[in-house]
Symmetry: C2
Subunit: 448 residues, 2 copies
C-alpha cells in the first residue's frame, strides 16, 4: 500500500491549487492527486470551447502545474478515517496523513419531464462529454438553453456563434438576476439579443417534448419552443457522497461543513472548492457561492493550514464578471436584495456614468456605468456593479478590495485613483469615486 503525506481527491481548480500551495508554502513533495479525469478542463473556459476557442483541447489545464505532486487516475470510492486510507473503485488502497477533498460539484438535474430524452445536455466538466456536445451543437438547428445565469448566458452566446438558433429560457424576470441589479441584466440581455440570441424570461419549462429525441420545449405559460437540442445550466450541487459516507458533517447549502481553516469535522481532512460549504464575508452565514476563484482561494488556505492553523478564511465574497460582445459587466458583494435579506434594510445607492476613456472622443470610448450600495449606518460599501467592457474583470477586483477593506463612501469618494486617456475615465468623472460621492450626497445632503 502506498502511503502519502498528503492525498488530494479531485484535480480541478481547488485540488490543483492545494497541490501547488502545499509545495510552495509547506515544501511538501509527497503529494498524490487522485482524479478520474484524464484531462482537466479550465472550468470557466467551458462555454468558450464552442465559439471562441473552437475545440475542447484548447481549454485544458496542463498537468505540469502539479509540479512534484504525483497524479493518480482513478475514482475514490470510500474513506477509512480510522485507518487514514482511501479506497479506489479498482480496489487500490492509498494511505494519507492529511486528506483534502476537492470533489467539486455536479450539474443540478431538474425533474423536468422529458429531461432524459436524447439531445438534452448538461454542463459536465468531462472532456469526452464536452467533445460530444460540440458535435451535437454542430448538428443542431435550434438550441434551448434552460437557465439564464452566467453559464447559460455564456453558453447561449457561444453556441450561437457556432451556427444554430439559440433561445434562453429563464425562470426569473431577467437573466443574471440573482447576481446583478436589473439595469445590468437588461444591458446584457440587449447585447445578447443584438447578437441574435432569443430570450424568454419569467418562464419555467414544463416539459421537454419529442418522440425519442428533443423536438420542443413546453413552457408553464402554455408556450412551446420548437427545438432539436436542450442544454440545462441551472446550477450545481456539491459532490459530497464520499464525505457523507465517511461520516463528515454536511452544511445547510449541502456543502461539506468546514471551519474557517477549511477543516472538516475531522481535522485531518480538509475540503475546498465547490464541494465545501461557504460562509458569507458579511455575516458568516452559509452562502451558495461556487466559483473557481473561490475554490483556488480555499486551496491556498487549506494548504497553509495542513499542520496548524495559519490562515483564516474571513468569508466568501461573490466577485463576478462576464462579457457578451462589447458589453461586459462586473459585480462584487451584495445585491440590494441580498443586502436586505441579511438585515441591511437601510442602504444608500450611489451611481455614476462617464466615458470609459478620456476625452470621450478617444477611439473606442463607451459609456461606463457604476452603481454602489452602502450601509447607511456605517457608510461601508456592501456591493457594487458596473458595465465596463474589457476592464470589467479588474474593476470587479477594485470593488472587492474596497469591500474587504471596509471602505466607506467617504473613503471611496477620496480614493487616490490613477487615470489615463486610453485606459480609464477622466479624473473629473472617474465612476468609482463619483458613485461614492453621489451616495455621500444622497446620504448627507452635503459633507457631514
Amino acid at each position: 500500500m502506498i502511503r502519502s503525506e498528503l492525498v488530494i481527491v479531485g484535480g480541478s481548480a481547488g485540488g490543483l491549487q492545494t497541490a501547488i500551495c502545499a509545495q510552495r508554502h509547506q515544501q511538501l513533495k509527497d503529494i498524490i492527486v487522485i482524479r478520474p479525469e484524464k484531462k482537466i478542463l479550465v472550468p470557466c473556459g467551458i462555454p468558450y470551447i464552442y465559439g471562441t476557442l473552437g475545440n475542447v483541447e484548447k481549454d485544458i489545464m496542463p498537468d505540469k502545474l502539479l509540479g512534484d505532486a504525483k497524479l493518480k487516475n482513478g475514482k475514490v470510492a470510500s474513506i477509512d478515517r480510522k485507518a487514514k486510507t482511501v479506497a479506489l473503485e479498482d480496489g487500490e488502497i492509498i494511505g494519507y496523513n492529511k486528506l483534502v477533498l476537492a470533489t467539486g460539484a455536479s450539474p443540478v438535474e431538474p425533474p423536468i419531464p422529458g429531461a432524459d430524452k436524447k439531445n438534452v445536455w448538461f454542463v459536465r466538466k468531462v472532456f469526452d462529454y464536452l467533445e460530444q456536445l460540440a458535435s451535437a451543437i454542430d448538428n443542431a438547428k435550434h438550441i434551448v438553453v434552460i437557465g439564464g445565469g452566467f453559464i447559460g448566458v455564456e453558453f447561449a452566446d457561444e453556441c450561437h456563434k457556432r451556427g444554430p438558433e439559440v433561445t434562453i429560457v429563464e425562470l426569473l424576470d431577467h437573466c443574471l438576476q440573482l447576481i446583478c441589479p436589473e439595469e445590468l441584466c437588461v444591458r446584457l440581455e440587449d447585447a445578447l439579443r443584438d447578437r441574435g440570441v432569443k430570450i424568454a424570461t419569467s418562464n419555467a419549462v414544463k416539459s421537454i417534448g419529442g418522440v425519442d429525441k428533443v423536438e420542443f420545449v413546453e413552457l408553464e405559460n402554455g408556450g412551446k419552443i420548437e427545438c432539436d437540442m436542450v442544454i440545462i445550466g441551472i446550477g450545481v450541487k456539491p459532490n459530497t457522497k464520499l464525505a457523507e459516507e465517511a461520516g463528515l458533517e454536511i452544511g445547510p447549502t449541502r456543502g461539506i461543513k468546514v471551519d474557517e481553516f477549511q477543516r472538516t469535522t475531522d481535522h485531518n481532512i480538509f475540503a475546498v472548492g465547490d464541494c465545501a460549504e461557504k460562509y458569507s464575508f458579511f455575516n458568516s452565514a452559509p452562502v451558495p457561492l461556487r466559483l473557481a476563484a473561490i475554490a483556488t482561494r480555499e486551496g491556498k488556505i487549506a494548504a497553509a493550514n495542513l499542520y496548524s492553523p495559519q490562515w483564516r478564511n474571513v468569508g466568501t465574497l461573490g466577485v463576478f464578471s462576464s462579457i457578451v460582445g462589447e458589453t461586459a459587466i462586473s459585480a462584487a458583494g451584495l445585491t440590494d436584495a441580498q443586502a436586505a435579506k441579511i438585515g441591511y434594510h437601510d442602504i444608500v445607492v450611489g451611481e455614476a456614468e462617464a466615458a470609459s476613456k478620456h476625452p470621450g472622443t478617444m477611439p473606442g470610448a463607451t459609456l461606463m456605468r457604476v452603481r454602489l450600495i452602502f450601509a447607511r449606518k456605517s457608510g461601508k460599501l456592501l456591493g457594487g456593479c458596473a458595465c465596463c467592457a474589457m476592464t470589467a474583470g479588474e474593476f470587479s477586483n477594485i470593488l472587492a478590495a474596497c469591500i474587504v477593506n471596509g471602505m466607506t463612501m467617504e473613503q471611496i469618494a477620496l480614493f487616490p485613483m490613477g487615470t489615463h486617456p486610453w485606459l480609464t475615465a477622466s479624473p473629473l468623472a472617474y465612476q468609482l469615486t463619483d458613485a461614492a460621492s453621489n451616495a455621500l450626497h444622497k446620504a448627507k445632503g452635503m459633507v457631514a
Copy 2:
C-alpha cells in the same frame, strides 16, 4: 465690484473639480472661476491630440461641467488678503469670501543653449499654442523629444504616428526610470522602438544648434542628432507667483504650502492641483507628484473643507498608467529606490507572470507581469507595477486600493479576486495574488 462667496483661480482639473464639488456638497451657487484660457484642455489628453485624436478641438473639457459656477476670462494679477479681493490684469477687482488657487504648473525650461531657437516647443496647456504645434509637427521631418517621462514617451509615439521621424533623448538610463522598475521601462522602450521611435538614453542635451531655426541637437557625449524640431518635456514647475506675492508660504518642492485640509497659510485661501505642495502617503514628506488625478482629489477635499475641516488629505500616492501600442504599464506607490530613500531598506519583492486571459489560448491573450514590493517588517505593500495591456489603468487602481488600506502580503495572497476567461488571468495564476504569495514565500520560506 463683484463679490463672490467662492472665487477659484484656474479652470483646469483642480479648479474645475473644486467648482463641481462646492456645488455638489456645499450647495454653493455663488462661485466664480477665473481663468485666462478661452478653452480648457484635457491635460492628460494633450499628447493624444497629435496622433490618436487628430486635432486640439477633440481634447477640450466642456464648460458645461462648471454647472452654475460663473466663468470669468482673465488673468489674476494680485491678491489683497486683507480686503479679500483679487485684481485682474485689466484692473477689475473681484471680492471673495473663500479663495481657491488652482493656478497649475508650467513646463520647466532648462538652460540649454539654443533652447530659444525657432521650432523649439514646450508642452503648454494653451489651445492656440497646441494648434501651432500641430502644424509644426506636420512640417517636421525629424523631431527630437527631450525627456523620456510619460509626457515625452507619449508625445514621441503620437508625433511619430503623424509622420516625422522621432528621437527621444533621456538623461537617465531608461525612459520612465523615476516611476517604473527597469524591466517595465525596457518593455515600453521596446514597444516604442518596434513602432519606429528612436531612443537615446543616458544622454544629456548640451545644446540645440542651428542658424536661426533648429538644425541639430548636440549631446554631452559628443553625439549630434540632425533634426528640424525639438519638443521639451522634462517636467513642470508650480505656478506660485500670485501666492508668493500675496505672502503665502511656499513648500520645499516649490508648491504653495498647504495643510491636510488643502488650506494655505491663510485659512480663507486654499490651494489645489499642480500649484500646491504634496505630501507623501507614506511619510508625509513633500513629494513632487503632479498629476490631474491628484489635482481633482485635492479639489474635492478643498471644496469639502471651505467652511470647516471635514476631509483630511491622508497623503498623496503616485498612481500611473500608460500605453504604447499594445504594451501598457501600471504603477502605484513607491519604486525600490523611493522606498529605500525614505527608510524602507528591507523590502521583499514578489513577482508573478501569467497569461492575461484564461485559458492562455483565448484570442488576444498576452503575458501579464506583476511585481510588488513589501516592507519586510510590517509585511505591507509599498508599491507595485505591472505590464498588462488594456486593464493597466484599473489594475493600477487595485494596487492603489491595496496600498491605501495597508494590505499585507498575506492579505493580498488571500485576496478574494474574481476572474473571467476573457477579462483576467486564471484563478490559479492571478498575478496579484501570486506575486504576493511569491513575496510571502521569499520572506518566510513557508507560511509563518
